[in-house]
Assembly symmetry: C2
C-alpha cells in the first residue's frame, strides 16, 4: 500500500503529461497542471469504513493527496473543519437542510491553509528551498507560516492596503515581506521577475499544481461528513476559484471510487457585484472570463479581476448544472449579522456573500425547500475586524445598566 | 445509558451539595461550586476504545459533561484541537518531546469557546433566558455568540480598552454590549448590580459551575491524544486559572476511571511579571493569593489581579508538585516570533508566555530533557494584531526585488 496513489501531472488544455518527482509549474502551453491518481489502486486497498478511525485532519485522505512519503508532510492540524447545521437561518430562508462548512477553524483562520499545507509539503518533497508568491493577504499568511515550518525560505509580495493582520502573519513567519504601492497584479509582476532572476519556486495561484489538491479536501470532507451522501447544492465564494475547482475534482474522484453515487451537487460560484467576471462569463455562456476593470468589494478575498483557472471554474458550473451569482456588499454585511445573531457564528464577508446568495437563490426558486445545501465560509470573521461598525453604550465606573420599559434587551 | 453521568454540585470549601436541574451560582458560603459525576457508572458503560469513532468535538466526552439531554447541546464544532509536536523548538530548548495544544483552532479563536459551549448549553438546559457577564474580551465574545446560538439574551460589559476584535464579536452577536471607562473589576460591579436588579443569570467566571467542565475537556483531549499516557508537565497561562483547574479535575477523573495511570503531570501556572499573584502566593507557600495592584501586561488574557478560584489553582499546583512562574512581556514577544519562525504557528501572547516559561524551566533544570511537555496556546495570534511590529520594504508598482550579496533571504 502506498501513502499516495498519485500517478502523474496532466494538462487539462493540451493533454501533455509530466512526472511527479520533479518541480513543475505551468504546462508548456501556459495552462495550470492537474494531478492524476491511480483510483483503481485506491479502490483495492481502502474503504470508507477505514477512514473513520483516522486522524481528524485532511491527511486522513493521504492516498488521494500528492505527497508520496509521510515524513514530508508539514502539518499544523489542518482540516476536518466542522459541517454545522444552520437551523435558524434555514428556517429564515425556508431551506430544510442548510449547513455551513466552517473554514474559520483552521490554522491561520482561512481555507488557504489547506492549499499551503499540501502545496508546501509537496514543495518540500520535490526539494524546493525558496519559494515566492504575490498575495492579497491570507494565502501569503498561510504559505509563509507553513514554509517556515518546512524550513523553506519564502518571499511574499502584497499590496500595501492588504489587511494588517495578514501582513503581521507573514512578517512573523520570517518570510521576506515586500509591500507594493499597487494591486495584487503588480505584486504578481514583481514576483514573476524575482522568480526568473533568482530561480525561485513560483507558488502563485495555480502556477504550482498542488494547492488545488489541498483545497480538494473540502469536497472530500463534505462528502464524508454527510455520510457519503452528496448534497444538492454547494456554494462557494469565488475569487481565484481554486476552492471550487478543488471541490469539483474531489467529487469526481469520489464518484470514480464509488464512494458517492448519483448526480454531482450543483456548484455555485458566488462573487461580489463589484468584481464578477465569472458571473458575467456564465451569464453570457462563455468558457473563459474577461478582466474586470476597477474591481471593488469589501470582501477582498474575492477581489480577483481575472482568474488563471477561470475556465476550470466555468467547466465545474456547466458540468454540474450550477450557476454563478453576484451579491452586493451591503447584503453581505446584513447576512454576516444575521448569521451571528441566529447561529452564533462570526463568518467572514466572503462567507457572508455565500449565505446572501443562498437567500437570493431560494427566493427565486433556484434552490428548493427540501434540498440539502452546503455553504462555504472560507475564513474566520476575526480576520476582518473592520467590517463591523458599532456604537456601544459607554458607562462610567460607578454606572449602572438601565433596563428600558421594553426590557433590558433589544 | 445516560447521556451525562452528572450526579450533583458540591462546594470544595464547605462540602455543601446541590442538585443539577435548577439554576445555581456560588455556594451559600461564597465559594465556586464544582460538578460531581457517577464515575462508577461511566466505568461500566464506556471504554476508551469507543471514543475513537465518536465525533471530533469535545462532546465525544458527553458522559463526563453536565448536559443531561443531547438536544440541549449548543455546538459550533468546538474541541479536539490539535496536539502538535514542536520538534524545532524542542531542539532549541533541549526538550525531546515538546507539544503545543493549540486552542487557536476553535470557534471565536480562543479556549473560551469550551467554557461557553458547555456553560451556555447547561444554561439552556436549566431554563436560563437572560445572562450577564463582565469580560476582558474573549470570554464575552464566546458567551455572546454561543448565547445567540442558544436563543439566550446576553448583557456583556467590557472595559473600553478591551481589544476591538472581541468588542465587534460581542456586538455582532446581538448581545447588549456596554463599555466601561475602567477595568474588568468595574465591569464586574456593574454586572453584579444588573444581575440583582433584573434577576439575570450571572455567567461571570466561576459564578456558574459549568464553564470549568467545558475547559476540563482540554485535559481529557491531551490524555486521549497522547494515547492515554500522561505527559510529565503541562503548562498553562494563568489569569482566572479556570483552564488549569479544569485540566486538573479532568486528569483526576480520568485516573479514577482507570483510563490513565501513574503520577499526574506537574501543572505549571504561567503568569506575566506585571501580574503574578499566583506566583507570589506559590513562592510564599500560601493557599490563596492577594490582589495585585497596578497590574500590567500586553497579554491581557492573563491580566487578572485576583482570581476567584485562586485556591483551586494553588491546590492543583501543590497536589501535582507543579510550580508557578512569571515571565516578562519582552520574552513573550521573542518567543512568539521564535514559534512562528521555527514551527509556523502564530500563537497569542499568553501562549507565548507558556513557551517562554518552558525555556526558563528547562534552563534551570526544573524540566528535564527527556520529559514529555505540553504547553497550552490559549488562542490564535490573529486576535491580537497589534503585538507584531514590523517595517517591511516598500516597492513601487514597477519595482524589483533586489537580492543582496548574502542572499535574498534574511
Amino acid at each position: 500500500m502506498n501513502y499516495s496513489y498519485i500517478s502523474q501531472l496532466y494538462c487539462p488544455k493540451c493533454g501533455h503529461t509530466y512526472g511527479t518527482s520533479e518541480q513543475h509549474q505551468l504546462c508548456t502551453c501556459g495552462s495550470p497542471l492537474l494531478v492524476d491518481y491511480d483510483l483503481e489502486g485506491i479502490k483495492k486497498h481502502l474503504t470508507t469504513d477505514e477512514l473513520t478511525s483516522r486522524e481528524s485532519t485532511l491527511w486522513r485522505y493521504h492516498e488521494l493527496l500528492p505527497i508520496e512519503e509521510a515524513h514530508h508532510v508539514v502539518s499544523l492540524g489542518e482540516g476536518m473543519t466542522p459541517l454545522i447545521p444552520f437551523q435558524e437561518l434555514g428556517k429564515d430562508t425556508s431551506i430544510e437542510n442548510l449547513y455551513i462548512k466552517d473554514e474559520g477553524l483552521i490554522p491561520t483562520g482561512t481555507f488557504k491553509a489547506r492549499g499551503a499545507a499540501v502545496g508546501v509539503s509537496k514543495a518540500k518533497e520535490v526539494g524546493v528551498k525558496e519559494l515566492a508568491m504575490p498575495t492579497n493577504g491570507n494565502a501569503g499568511a498561510a504559505w509563509g507560516l507553513y514554509a517556515a515550518r518546512a524550513g523553506i525560505t519564502s518571499t511574499i509580495v502584497m499590496p500595501e492596503d492588504a489587511p494588517k493582520i495578514t501582513r503581521n502573519e507573514v512578517a512573523l513567519s520570517g518570510a521576506n515581506l515586500y509591500l507594493v504601492n499597487g494591486l495584487i497584479s503588480d505584486a504578481g509582476k514583481i514576483v514573476g521577475k524575482a522568480v526568473k532572476d533568482y530561480n525561485l519556486y513560483d507558488a502563485s495561484t495555480l502556477k504550482e499544481p498542488y494547492r488545488i489538491e489541498g483545497k480538494k479536501t473540502m469536497g472530500l470532507e463534505i462528502a464524508e461528513q454527510l455520510n457519503w451522501e452528496m448534497p444538492d447544492v454547494i456554494l462557494y465564494p469565488t475569487g481565484g476559484g481554486v476552492g471550487l475547482i478543488g471541490i469539483h475534482k474531489a467529487l469526481k474522484e469520489l464518484k470514480e471510487l464509488g464512494w458517492v453515487k448519483g448526480k454531482l451537487p450543483r456548484l455555485v460560484a458566488v462573487q461580489s457585484r463589484g468584481c464578477a467576471p465569472i458571473v458575467k462569463a456564465w451569464e453570457e455562456g462563455k468558457r473563459e472570463s474577461e478582466f474586470w476593470n476597477d474591481s471593488e468589494t469589501l470582501a477582498f478575498g474575492i477581489n480577483v479581476p481575472k482568474a488563471l483557472g477561470d475556465f476550470l471554474v466555468l467547466d465545474a458550473i456547466y458540468e454540474t448544472d450550477g450557476c454563478a451569482i453576484a451579491v452586493d456588499d451591503e447584503s453581505m454585511l446584513q447576512e454576516q449579522a444575521k448569521v451571528a445573531q441566529m447561529e452564533g457564528n462570526f463568518i467572514c464577508p466572503e462567507g457572508a456573500a455565500t449565505f446572501a446568495a443562498v437567500r437570493r437563490l431560494r427566493e427565486n426558486g433556484w434552490i428548493e425547500q427540501n434540498e440539502t445545501v452546503v455553504a462555504l465560509n472560507t475564513g474566520a470573521g476575526i480576520k476582518y475586524p473592520d467590517t463591523v461598525q458599532l456604537r456601544p453604550e459607554m458607562l462610567e465606573k460607578d454606572g449602572s445598566i438601565v433596563k428600558a420599559d421594553e426590557g433590558l434587551v433589544k
